[in-house]
């Protein structure tokens, strides 16, 4: 099958993922709308950053896109193929082109397997035939790519620190040379010097291999450094999406403004006027009417309670879900 250059590698339309919750003891039941009405595309070699409040649905988007969870509604097209309802079996050949780097390096590495076995497993599962020595070479190459010594192959996960384990997780995801990488807080546990190395590594891989990425992280500077575009989530929905520079120089959604203002900085002089958000993320069990951000939004007006604001054009490639077009929001960076 040939794919036209213009078709995005990943095309997600109106994705929803709901979780039924409740305890048999109390009889309280409900539906957590983890993700609702999320649409986006990722082009070949493109990096889309995904940021947003804890619990806003970033991980769920990533996992659903990879079909590690079944979507409640919506459509996912990958490499021109509709994979929304593919069976587990039919998914298998697709899977090697899309890989997840987990948020949690502890839970994702089997403690009883050596690093060599962990890294070779994807090669074996996907039936890549190669001699043992060749496989070992691929393992060592991957370890070196992520900045670990080759002898690490013979050790076990518990012998490594958190950051080292995360690098093993990245190495594993790269073993099959995938086209799409979903990196879920993949660099969050790394100290900044290793973090910078890994981000540079991901930039290299993206150039060399045309690797596309859904890059989920809460560190805005990290997301800004690596992403072509950034989407901001709030309570299960994308509330703003824009080319990176446009978002950082002119956010158009009040939540994005608050998010930027909360970023910690080593230089007190550069620390922006902090907008401390009042209250909490509303419960996804019973989202409020209208705009989900309105209870915490310093700019809310009564009309904000009426309808859920749809994403509307706010500039070239820039969309926001806020009814107020009259706001001048503060930006962390100035246009150059």
């Amino acid at each position: 099958m040939t794919v036209t250059v213009t078709a995005p590698l990943l095309d997600v339309q109106d994705l929803a993922k709901h979780f039924p919750v409740g305890s048999p003891l109390s009889g309280k039941r409900g539906i957590v709308r983890g993700v609702d009405g999320v649409s986006f595309t990722i082009g070949r070699g493109e990096v889309l950053g995904l940021v947003g409040e804890s619990g806003s649905g970033k991980t769920t988007v990533g996992r659903t896109v990879l079909r590690l969870q079944d979507p409640t509604a919506g459509a996912i097209r990958f490499r021109g193929q509709d994979i929304t309802h593919l069976s587990r079996r039919a998914l298998r050949p697709v899977r090697q082109h899309m890989q997840l780097v987990f948020q949690d390096p502890y839970a994702s590495l089997n403690p009883r397997m050596s690093v060599e076995s962990i890294l070779s497993a994807p090669l074996i599962i996907h039936g890549e035939k190669m001699a043992r020595g060749e496989r070992r070479a691929r393992v060592e190459e991957a370890l070196q790519l992520v900045g670990l010594f080759p002898a690490a192959a013979d050790r076990y996960p518990h012998e490594f620190s958190g950051g080292q384990r995360q690098r093993i997780g990245i190495a594993r995801a790269l073993m099959l040379r995938p086209e799409l990488l979903v990196a879920d807080e993949a660099v969050s546990a790394l100290d900044v010097s290793v973090q910078a190395q890994v981000i540079n590594l991901l930039m290299d891989l993206r150039e060399q291999l045309q690797l596309s990425m859904l890059f989920i992280a809460h560190d805005l500077a990290v997301v800004g450094a690596i992403s072509d575009r950034v989407a901001v989530m709030y309570l299960g929905r994308i509330v703003e999406v824009a080319p990176t520079a446009a978002l950082f120089t002119g956010p158009r959604h009040p939540y994005t403004e608050a998010l930027f203002s909360a970023a910690p900085d080593t230089d007190p002089a550069r620390r922006p006027q902090r907008i401390v958000l009042k209250g909490d993320l509303p419960s996804p069990l019973s989202p409020p009417s209208g705009c989900a951000f309105r209870m915490r939004c310093p700019y809310a007006v009564s009309a904000c309670a009426d309808d859920q604001p749809a994403l509307r054009v706010a500039g070239p490639g820039h969309f926001k879900a806020c009814i107020r077009d009259d706001l001048t929001l503060s930006a962390p960076l100035k246009v150059r």
């Binding site: 919750v21 305890s23 003891l25 109390s26 957590v32 409040e53 804890s54 619990g55 806003s56 991980t59 948020q103 949690d104 502890y106 839970a107 670990l148 002898a151 050790r155 012998e159 490594f160 620190s161 958190g162 950051g163 807080e185 969050s188 546990a189 790394l190 100290d191 900044v192 010097s193 290793v194 973090q195 910078a196 190395q197 981000i199 540079n200 930039m203 809460h218 560190d219 805005l220 500077a221 800004g224 450094a225 520079a245 950082f248 120089t249 998010l259 970023a263 910690p264 900085d265 080593t266 230089d267 902090r274 401390v276 958000l277 909490d280 993320l281 509303p282 419960s283 069990l285 960076l333």
Partner: protein
């Protein structure tokens, strides 16, 4: 002023089939009541192992050997943590010293509702009835900013987002009203707005209760916001210690300087594709550490005839500023 916690010459060695690893060597520091000490440093430098050694949560000998002294000012007088019988240590752990981990899933029980887990911690510490304990658990969940706390108390850990699990764990640690809280990467999994709330929360608790905090983190922005003093670790040793403001303004150890230089800046968003400044090379394999300065192979300042000969000791630069580098005097100018 006497310290709440005083760590002296702490060393930790692990033994495995493939040989012995010295995870920590000659680590000394102290924490005063009401103070926040940050520990930063390269991945695998020994930050978590230091915390686990204080908590006595490392594997028992012979798999792991811990030496040195750790003194803690308990409610009933000073105690030497490394000499304490395990039974007494259990009481310290569930009471005066609490720890929150890098990984919430390692300390939350997956098969119990979080409200019940926190209530059990409350019961263990304060006694009283189950209903009162559950009420306090919900209060604690509310305190750490979990929306709809009463209902969320009935969630199992896997039903919570990463950030919410982390907050649940903080709630559990606070259940015993500790004097010292050791927080290992407590905000690493959190988005910046929740992180800002948690930092506010910790500062508030500290002001109200005189809680001392050891805050392990990679995030120097967080360090700037929360820590009175900061300890920088590299390859199993403390390499620099200073009041946070002086450390950030005038770091001396080349590793600290490299670390600060690698902090991602928002400005990078305007320079697409440009590589971030990073320290070249990797941490040495702990089994084959350079005999002299462990940072030497990666250091721009290294001079083989000085830095490659003996391991530098900690030197006092100013009142509360200590550094481990043979060339700090030249770097300072």
């Amino acid at each position: 002023m006497s310290a709440l916690l005083d760590v002296e010459d702490l060393a930790v060695r692990f033994r495995s089939d493939s040989g012995e690893v010295t995870a920590l060597e000659g680590v000394s520091f102290s924490v005063a009541a009401g103070e926040t000490l940050a520990i930063v440093g390269e991945s695998s430098s020994g930050k978590s192992v230091s915390a686990l050694a204080i908590m006595r949560l490392l594997p028992p000998a012979p798999a792991c050997r811990v030496t040195g002294r750790i003194r803690f000012q308990g409610r009933d007088g000073p105690i030497s943590l490394l000499d304490l019988p395990e039974r007494a240590m259990v009481a310290v752990r569930g009471g005066e010293i609490a720890m929150i981990f890098q990984e919430p899933m390692t300390s939350l029980n997956p098969v119990h509702m979080i409200g019940r887990q926190i209530a059990e911690a409350v019961l263990a510490h304060e006694g009283g009835g189950k209903t009162a304990a559950l009420r306090r658990a919900i209060e604690l969940l509310d305190l750490v900013g979990i929306p709809d706390a009463a209902r969320r108390a009935e969630s199992y850990p896997h039903q919570l987002s990463g950030g919410m699990r982390q907050r649940a764990m903080i709630a559990m640690a606070l259940a015993s009203r500790p004097k010292l809280l050791i927080a290992d990467e407590p905000t690493t999994a959190l988005d910046v707005t929740v992180q800002a709330q948690i930092l506010d929360l910790l500062r508030r608790l500290q002001a109200e209760t005189g809680l001392a905090i050891i805050f392990i983190t990679h995030n120097l922005g967080v360090v700037a916001e929360i820590a009175d003093r900061t300890l920088v670790m590299y390859s199993g040793q403390v390499v620099e210690e200073a009041p946070t403001a002086s450390l950030l303004a005038a770091p001396l150890m080349p590793y600290t300087r490299g670390l600060l230089n690698s902090v991602p800046r928002l400005e990078a968003a305007l320079r697409p594709g440009q590589r971030l400044p990073a320290i070249a090379g990797n941490v040495p394999d702990p089994r084959h550490r350079p005999a002299a300065c462990t940072f030497q192979p990666r250091c721009d300042w290294a001079q083989p005839d000085i830095c490659g000969v003996t391991r530098p000791g900690m030197e006092r630069v100013a009142e509360a500023h200590l550094v481990r580098c043979a060339r700090w005097r030249e770097i300072a100018v």
